[in-house]
């Protein structure tokens, strides 16, 4: 049972861009603007010109339902849009089209790995809205004189996923974000690698104070940092006998601190009213058919991996935690040639996929940097005992750093495993050249054997199997 000594309560509002759609939510402008000049994919609707009329993208509604269902929400019978009124240059028409008391879905949950095992975080609602434009400040936000505005982003379909205040630590908040992102990727509604794809506002309070809302968080790590900072800040305020007030704070990513925004905007007064240009939606009837199309989600896939392939739960969790690796693993197993099917078991594959993952991460590369066929060749060399494990690692590294093919690297570096006579000779030489180690071993110092194994490996340039070398040594030392 997690005690939560400070009574930390965290709720997150996550803005998810449905960026796999072809067009924006209320107009036919493209969503593919990321490499284009500012204001080159805009129209009267997303610029908010007088008289322009929004019409909702049917696929955006379907995607929203898909996400709602995957988050265990109920798709509402009646849903409609509102105008949230505020004057800020990111939305030129003076209001944002969003939802209010009739969101498209509500009342769901996500299961995360919490401080004390599985932990359920409630989803208050997931509602649709339009993304505002992107503001560029010259210099820092508090110093610049002007704001430059690019409306290419304006009108992108957003889903705001609002959680209950169920997270009890910054770590849980981060896990929640990871899980949500994971689910969204499986649903194929969202590409998390695009700039601005996922933006987070965090609400946090500790026992004895009111909550602060932290804005401008743009990464999962940022969320954790901002929340850690905020807990310390709030505790300090209380310890000095102060009062933690209800306020909005801005996360300064570079300095890893939160700053009070102290402005009259605090007095939120959005004067919501139903959007007269969009008629209500009655689409709960779509839910059963959309539910049929939901893919296998991360948790289900993880459990299947454990059951079907006999791999460990944490391995399955790590694989399914990223769609690309889960797919890699299964595609990989399918690619085994029949003759290797028996020897190449999934447990071996997962172990080597983890090695590959580590090498890729170290070099800041993605899975695309390594051919699946190469991985297959390496494992085949390994299970047919032609190379050692060290040799396999060497091939992976060489492929990443210099390229080539596994067979070429094996030939070039002479990685073919040596056995029998060569190992025997190496063992004999090692014994002869290290009398002290031999004496130590015979005197009962087990550890001395390791240095002898090391000497054998050095002589064979790492091509001997360490376990075999050890056995031969033991035999000779009698």
């Amino acid at each position: 049972m997690y005690e939560n000594p400070d009574g930390v309560m965290i709720g997150l509002e996550v803005h998810v861009q449905l960026n796999k759609l072809k067009t924006k939510v209320f107009c036919g402008c493209t969503t593919d603007y990321h490499n284009d000049p500012p204001n080159s994919h805009v129209c009267p609707v997303c610029l908010g010109l007088p008289g322009a009329l929004p019409v909702i993208n049917k696929k955006a509604v379907e995607a929203a339902i898909k996400v709602g269902l995957a988050l265990n929400c109920k798709v509402e019978e009646h849903t409609q849009f509102y105008r949230k009124n505020y004057y800020y240059p990111d939305l030129p028409k003076g209001f944002q089209i969003t939802q209010y008391d009739f969101p498209i879905s509500s009342g769901g949950y996500i299961v995360i790995e919490g401080e004390d095992g599985e932990h359920r975080v409630g989803i208050t609602r997931a509602h649709m809205e339009e993304d505002p434009g992107r503001l560029v400040h010259e210099g820092t936000i508090d110093k610049s004189k002007y704001t430059l505005i690019d409306y290419n982003r304006s009108g992108m379909a957003l889903l705001e996923v609002v959680s209950d205040p169920d997270m009890r630590s910054p770590k849980e908040a981060r896990r929640y974000l990871d899980k949500l992102r994971n689910i969204l990727e499986y649903l194929d509604v969202f590409d998390g690698n695009l700039e601005g794809a996922l933006r987070v506002d965090a609400n946090i309070s500790i026992m004895g104070g009111q909550r602060a809302e932290i804005k401008n968080i743009s990464s999962h790590k940022g969320a954790e940092r901002a929340l850690l900072y905020e807990i310390v800040r709030q505790k300090n305020v209380l310890r000095r006998g102060g009062v933690v007030v209800l306020e909005t704070r801005h996360f300064d990513e570079a300095r890893e601190i939160t700053l009070s925004m102290r402005s009259k905007e605090e007095a939120h007064d959005y004067r919501y009213f139903p959007e007269p240009d969009l008629v209500p939606l009655k689409i709960s009837g779509w839910a059963p058919a959309i539910k049929e199309t939901l893919p296998e989600l991360p948790d289900a896939r993880r459990m299947r991996f454990v059951e079907q392939y006999g791999i460990k739960d944490d391995q399955a969790k790590s694989l399914t935690g990223e769609l690309v690796w889960a797919n890699y693993f299964e595609d990989f197993l399918k690619a085994y040639k029949d003759e290797y099917k028996e020897k190449l078991d999934p447990k071996l594959a997962v172990a080597w996929i983890e090695v590959l993952k580590g090498e890729l991460n170290y070099r800041d590369l993605t899975v695309d940097a390594f051919k699946k066929e190469d991985m297959l060749s390496i494992l085949e060399l390994l299970v047919s005992k032609k190379i050692t494990e060290d040799g396999a690692v060497d091939i992976i590294r060489t492929l990443l750093d210099k390229g080539g093919s596994p067979d070429e690297i094996v030939a070039e570096k002479g990685l073919l495993k040596v056995e029998g006579d060569i190992v025997s000779t190496a063992v004999e030489e090692a014994i002869k050249e290290n009398p002290q180690a031999v004496a130590d071993y015979k005197a009962g110092k087990e550890k001395a054997l390791n240095s002898l194994v090391g000497a054998v490996m050095k002589k064979t340039k790492g091509r001997a199997d360490a376990r075999a070398a050890r056995e031969v040594l033991l035999g000779k030392l009698g």
Binding site: G28, V55, I149, K282
Partner: protein, 96 residues
């Protein structure tokens, strides 16, 4: 009843700058508008479904097709009415 400070707040929300004189003038006017709407409160709406929309239609959609129903503008067209622009951006005073 709308007091002067409510009017100040409403004006601020709409980014309008009102002079003292404007305030004196608008406060009673807004109150009379509110009084007029207040008459609606006298209607008995017991058991009547709220009306969110005047049209008796639901579910109007567009397909996810680029440039449908209308085409995007060029950057030049988009910026043609902007009082201030810079490097293809609209330019506005800084706001916090």
């Amino acid at each position: 009843m709308i007091a002067k400070k409510d009017l100040e707040h409403i004006a601020w929300l709409s980014r309008l700058e009102l002079s003292e004189e404007d305030m004196e003038k608008y406060t009673p006017r807004l109150n009379s508008v509110l009084d007029y709407f207040g008459e609606l409160d006298e209607v008995d709406t017991e058991g009547v479904e709220p009306t969110y929309h005047v049209l008796p239609i639901n579910n109007v959609f567009r397909e996810d097709e680029i440039n449908a129903p209308a085409k995007s503008l060029t950057q030049e067209e988009a910026l043609s009415n902007a009082p201030k622009k810079q490097d293809g951006f609209f330019k506005a005073p800084r706001m916090m």
